[in-house]
Amino acid sequence: MKMTAPEGLAVWLDRLAQEVNLIAPREIDGVLLYRPVRNSGEIVWEFTRPLLSIKEAFFPATERLLTIEKIGQQIKLTETLPKGEQVIFGVRPCDARGIKMLEALFTDTEPSDPYFTQRRENTTLIGLACRTMGATCFCTSLGGAPDDPGDMDVMLYEVENGFVIQVMTEKGQALLSRFSLETDDISENESEFRASYLCEQAERIVIPEMNAWAVKFDDPYWEQVSERCLSCRICAYVCPTCRCFDVRDEDLLSGNGHNQSERIRCWDSCAREAYRRIAGGHNPRQAKGQRLRNRFLCKFDYYPRQSALGTAACTGCGRCIDACPVNIDITEVMQHIVEVSQ
């Protein structure tokens, strides 16, 4: 295995930032986010996880699908597929796992979504293993691990004198070949190293089986737990795997006399009240309990069945637990489902 010193890595990242869109954990007014960086100095190195996941880089909050131009009597449609290479540095295993879960629907389930798929092809993931798990992290309960390199292109492990590098894919190797990084060989081999890499792991929690969730569909629990829900969109937006979107045409200001608009898609959340309301006013999920139940069942029952995923669509990152203003806690909900399904 190879190792690199922090200075060498910094120089490498500086070069990378010149050539590609380098996205890394960065502090914006005190908030930690994965954002483009111009040099390695802007990168934050010590953190649990940024507030938003890397989902933004594959499925942006707002994305143009096509432009529509009305030129007199004619209509011109122009598809706007994403372009440009991106490298995301400092990816936590839970976030990389989240992208895999989104791929199961967007790419691996017909018809394939070309926007997400193109961005995925254009992106290389450089992971940074966690040393400890956060207070609300539970990735290990869902088959993940804070040092799991499985979904990365290149994985870094922080050690005393620098970073150990594990190349996971051809894409990762290609990046390291294109931009050469100063490395030293280390004496341990991979398995020795992995055994010695210490990461404090949290106690595992019991995850309900997929079939358990809908057993007591009309459980009054959903009404009770949702009473304090604000029906905002925070949980869906911070989640690495939530993917609901809205589509609409919006006008574009155009100076050339043509009537221009763009068709965009934006993040949406099934927790908000008008999510399923149709023109005419009928709303099959008028009650908060119905919406909250849908959100959890989608995560653990529906999405796995609607996509090629087959397992729970949760990475255990714990963002929703931290971010919910009223402490609606996914681990409490899971505990309840386990209890009633026994």
Partner: protein, 307 residues
């Protein structure tokens, strides 16, 4: 006698005598976080607590509880108006007055349990300090939230049950300190102020938590969330976000009570309350009006007679 005990006792008596259908208060969750609680049975009142992490403005739940026709409930809708009790601090109590003045429900439906709050801690409602760049341990001793430091009411302005003792003296000294952020804002040139606000709105993800956490934001369909994009587009872009935040601030002028919950719930640490307080300052200066001190409509609101 602790406030917790008094709240529990009152709740039990209100539920047993069927004066109310529900008591909205605070409880502590399994992770130790204080959070809103809805108590329907006298046997459950022991869940209720009072502590210095009781940050939520529980009046946001009053419309749902007291007028179930307005928002759907899984239970069958009842014909008779419901009754509820709510635990409020001084700031929250002012929201009660604004909601009553705007005819959202009747005074007789509500039993206000007003608590003389000693201040709410910074970081209340959160698990650790996850939003910051590094995980900091809680400050020792804990700091009070900015809104508590500048609180001049201290005591609920409307109540049916009063828990606590009126403080013998008003907090002094701190009041001036906390006006600092408004002063800083005013000291900026218009260009600097524009840049400042735009850079704050840039981080916004239009999660609408600020709006949902605000008792005064109660429009059935928000102007900024219409399906036909009539006033603002759907996109999560800077133009749209600026329109939303500035527009919302104007809609709250003279109605906002400065509870700062909008700012607390914001996942992106945007100083939303600062914007609202700037307008509160204007309304107080120009109209001599402070929202929620009495059950009268704010200067910019015309209330129709029907609900």
């Amino acid at each position: 006698m602790s406030y917790t005990y008094e709240i529990q006792t009152k709740a039990r008596s209100l539920l047993e005598s069927k004066q109310v259908d529900c008591v909205i208060g605070y409880e502590i969750g399994p992770r130790g976080r204080t959070r809103p609680a809805f108590i329907y049975q006298p046997e459950e009142v022991e869940r209720l607590v009072w502590n210095q992490a009781c940050t939520h403005n529980l009046t946001i739940y009053l419309k749902e509880q007291l007028d179930p026709q307005q928002s759907g409930r899984l239970k069958t809708k009842e014909q008779t108006p419901r009754h509820a009790a709510v635990v409020v601090k001084a700031c929250d109590s002012r929201a009660v007055n604004v909601l009553l003045a705007e005819n959202h429900f009747g005074r007789e439906q509500l039993h206000v349990i007003g608590v003389v709050c000693d201040g709410i801690h910074e970081g209340a409602g959160e698990v650790g300090n996850q939003r910051s760049v590094r995980q900091f341990p809680a400050a020792d001793p804990p700091q009070f939230q900015a809104r508590c430091q500048r609180c001049i009411e201290r005591v609920p302005v409307v109540f049916d049950t009063f828990i606590g003792e009126r403080p013998s003296n008003q907090k002094s000294g701190m009041y001036e300190n906390v006006l600092d952020d408004l002063d800083c804002l005013q000291a900026m040139t218009p260009t600097e102020r524009t840049d400042f606000w735009l850079s704050q709105f840039d981080r916004c993800i239009r999660c609408y938590a600020c709006r949902q956490a605000c008792p005064m934001c109660s429009c059935p369909t928000c102007l900024y969330e219409r399906d036909d994009s009539l006033w603002v587009g759907m996109g999560i872009g800077l133009n749209e976000k600026r329109t939303f935040h500035l527009g919302r601030a104007f809609h709250l002028a003279g109605r906002c009570i400065g509870c700062d919950e909008c700012e607390r719930v914001c996942p992106m640490d945007i100083p939303i309350s600062l914007l609202n307080r700037r307008l509160i300052q204007e309304v107080e200066t120009v109209f001599g009006y402070r929202a929620g001190m009495a059950q009268v409509p704010p200067p910019f609101v015309t209330v129709l007679s029907d609900r």
